[in-house]
Amino acid sequence: MRRALPIFVVLAGLLVAIAVVNPYFLEPTAFLAFVKRAAPLVILAAGQYFVIVSGEFDLSVGSLVTAEVVIAARLIDGSAEATWPVLALMIAFGLIVGLVNGAVTTLLRVPSFITTLGMLLILSGAVFLWTGGSPRGALSEQFRQLGRGSLGPVPWSVLILVAVAAAAVWATRARFGHTLVAAGDNDRAAALSGVRVARVRTVAFMISGLSAAVAAILLGGFAGVSAQVGKGLEFQAITAVVLGGVVLGGGRGSVAAAMAGAFTLEALFTLLNLYGISGALEPAVQGVIIIAAVALGAVRFPRARAAAAS
């Protein structure tokens, strides 16, 4: 947790900066709206954390989110009865995509960067082959509620986020979490000490696929069917995780910090927007901050050098 401290300090600083410009931000409804908006990215970052800490990448989550939403719209086609079965199917589909990513990476020994890049191409192509080029059907009101509605004053997506966060923290504290970090740190040593490296990594990919399914449910619910709902989310999720001090190459970092990284990214977008830094400067500021954050984080870890410099 101590290692994760800096990102929480940065996040707090950004939130204060937003509140200075927009005092309304600290009121419960506005703050909950912010959390609701950040929820899909935070959930994706939590999923991506498991893959990254085990030493791999998952580039397929963005197109998986799009695929899930398009699939849900076509299968539900506005019908209330179809909602729950399709939700279950979406979860299963996310797990299966993760399983395939994991199996190809660990059993066929394809680098995960390429496995998931291939999956990105396959998913984005296949789903639109199936629907004939653009989304069909419609999501039902019941489906939309999860991303759009709320329980009393608290949006459903915030509740789902809390549950996901609790589960993610629990998973990292459990034996699975330790073996995963061990595999990411040094897979040969981990294997020698009895860790089934291929299995834990595959589970990590399945968690990432699951997180994409949940993010898709929230995004589709929030804003409806769109052909580009997941566009660029994979890079945002990886950026968020890295911003949280998790080291690419595996073995170091906490899931709480990864999720804080996602909140930080979202807070940064909000702040840039409040200051009217639209369009042009936004990516530049984002780029500088990401490099700076990782550079400052890397200085403390001499061991990270090999991963970074080679």
Partner: protein
């Protein structure tokens, strides 16, 4: 790229023999290329076209030249154990720098070429220094630089700008018999990189650093400098591709690099050519094969008028399958 991928690889040796064997993964890609050409010939014959006709041969070369040049540069950084996600935006930037400095006048050509190459070398230097000095993982470093370049593009340009003179368009459109000038440029870049990798100390060091940075360092290689140089060379290649595209388009365009998907496609071409993503193994010959493979595939897609979604599926499957085959070959060897 990731640490565990480096385990179980032979430490870099110095003999000429090893250097040649390092390029051995190029072989399967050429076998696949020959098979694909045969397939293409069959498809075209059945479909009433001529696959090996001049039009199609020229088309394949024209389509692959820009990606080919970027991929050669990408090969160098990947061999050195790094990677470069900033090439796409850099290509857009250099196409604009080129076209704006030329401004339609012949007299501007030398200055524009020099400026484009200088800008790209500078970006490469920044990439390299962030990766080595600030010890930021190449994925994040080059992604961050890409965002900064994108910011500059968004701030300065809202559409195609500048124009290149007729004389400069010869680079993009002329050909000598069946050989377009652009393909000759690509061949020259590839040959230069091949010579660099196989005949110079720097080339040997790139393999050594990518193979095992720690071993390389212990044997006296200044690993950081090697990585920086690889990044500069990669960016210069992207700059050359930007020049070529400016000549093709007749102007600079802020989206030509990203629309072309040169970042991920160049990485895909490199690994299709048998170069290990973790570095230290592979070579330019394989990359050229990988790019040609993608181009021949595109040509077959064109003939069959395959829709773009199906193309993506086929490309994804080929990419993963190829890498699985390489991994298998590596284990049984």
């Amino acid at each position: 790229m990731t640490q565990q991928l480096k385990l179980g690889r032979v430490p870099a040796g110095g003999s000429l023999l090893r250097r040649i064997s390092a390029d051995r993964p190029a072989r399967p890609v050429y076998v696949a290329l020959v098979l694909l050409v045969v397939l293409g010939w069959l498809v075209f014959a059945l479909d009433g076209g001529t696959f090996l006709g001049q039009e199609n041969i020229v088309g394949i070369q024209q389509r692959s030249a820009a990606l080919g040049i970027v991929a050669v540069g990408q090969t160098l950084v990947i061999l050195a154990g790094s990677l470069d996600l900033s090439v796409a935006y850099l290509i857009s930037l250099t196409s604009l720098v080129t076209a704006e400095i030329m401004a339609g006048a012949d007299s501007g050509v030398p200055a524009a070429v020099a400026a484009a190459l200088a800008v790209s070398a500078l970006i490469g230097l920044v990439n390299g220094l962030i990766v080595t000095r600030l010890r930021v993982h190449a994925f994040i470093a080059t992604l961050g630089v890409a965002l900064v370049v994108r910011g500059a593009l968004d701030a300065r340009y809202d559409g195609p700008a500048g124009s290149v003179p007729e004389s400069f368009q010869h680079l993009g459109y002329d050909r000598i018999g069946p050989l377009p000038v652009s393909a000759l440029l690509w061949a020259a870049v590839a040959a230069g990189a091949w010579l660099l990798l196989s005949r110079t100390r720097l080339g040997y060091r790139i393999y050594a650093v990518g193979g095992d940075a720690e071993v390389a360092r212990l044997s006296g290689v200044r690993t950081e400098r090697v990585v920086v140089i690889a990044h500069v060379l990669c960016s210069v290649c992207a700059g050359i591709a930007g020049l070529l595209l400016a000549s093709r388009l007749g102007a600079g365009a802020p989206t030509v690099g990203t629309d072309g998907g040169y970042d991920l496609e160049s990485i895909a071409a490199v690994v299709l050519g048998g170069t290990a993503l973790a570095g230290g193994r592979g070579g330019v010959a394989g990359t050229v094969g990988g790019v040609l493979l993608l181009a021949v595939l595109d040509s077959i897609f064109n003939q069959l008028e395959v829709n773009s979604f199906a193309k993506d599926v086929v490309r994804g499957v080929i990419l993963v399958a190829a890498l699985a085959i390489y991994a298998r070959g590596r284990r049984t060897r």
